[in-house]
Assembly symmetry: C2
Homo-oligomer: 121 residues x 2
Amino acid sequence: MASAAAPERLISADKVKGTEVYNASGDKLGSINGVMIDKQSGKVAYADMSFGGFLGIGDRHHPLPWGMLHYSAKRGGYVVDLDPKLLKGAPNYAPEDKLDWADETWGRRVHDYYGVPPYWI
Amino acid sequence: MASAAAPERLISADKVKGTEVYNASGDKLGSINGVMIDKQSGKVAYADMSFGGFLGIGDRHHPLPWGMLHYSAKRGGYVVDLDPKLLKGAPNYAPEDKLDWADETWGRRVHDYYGVPPYWI
């Protein structure tokens, strides 16, 4: 096994679910509830995050643009270079709510909030 | 809700799991067990398929390059333009086997078999 396709380059979506997320300093922020796939490009668009009470955010779900997450083999989880304070005002929804993931206005708000380009551009 | 991001452009990986797969003629081929994500590009690399006894293939799993699958809202499932006979000799593994998804030689064989470019290029 060699070169281009590094070992563990692939991960099953099932395994992403439940994976922990840390900030750059190594503090655990939360974990991933699931991933949303863009059917058109075949790219993962969002990681749906739970911050599990971190910063008093409670168990509301926070969709993060997938490109913000970087896998760290050392930590065995994803790292997001994000000021935890920024999460306080970040777009979120209650698990019991039905979120319209395809609503472009909402999607734009999420991407603008984190300052990353939308997945559909 | 408008323009660029069409409604239902996004699907959760959880929902892809179990979705049925048809050929171009509308015959049900099987269903999706799960998806494998390329951590580097953020793209879905494979759909792991079960053909559930179709053509006597038994319940062995067949990884299909994700780009081969096209979602059909009409059918409520994915359509693969694939001669079912081609599946008979296609790369597969038993569910109880531990497949090394990152093995490039194996990955290349899968992509070569279906005549599509590897996800890592």
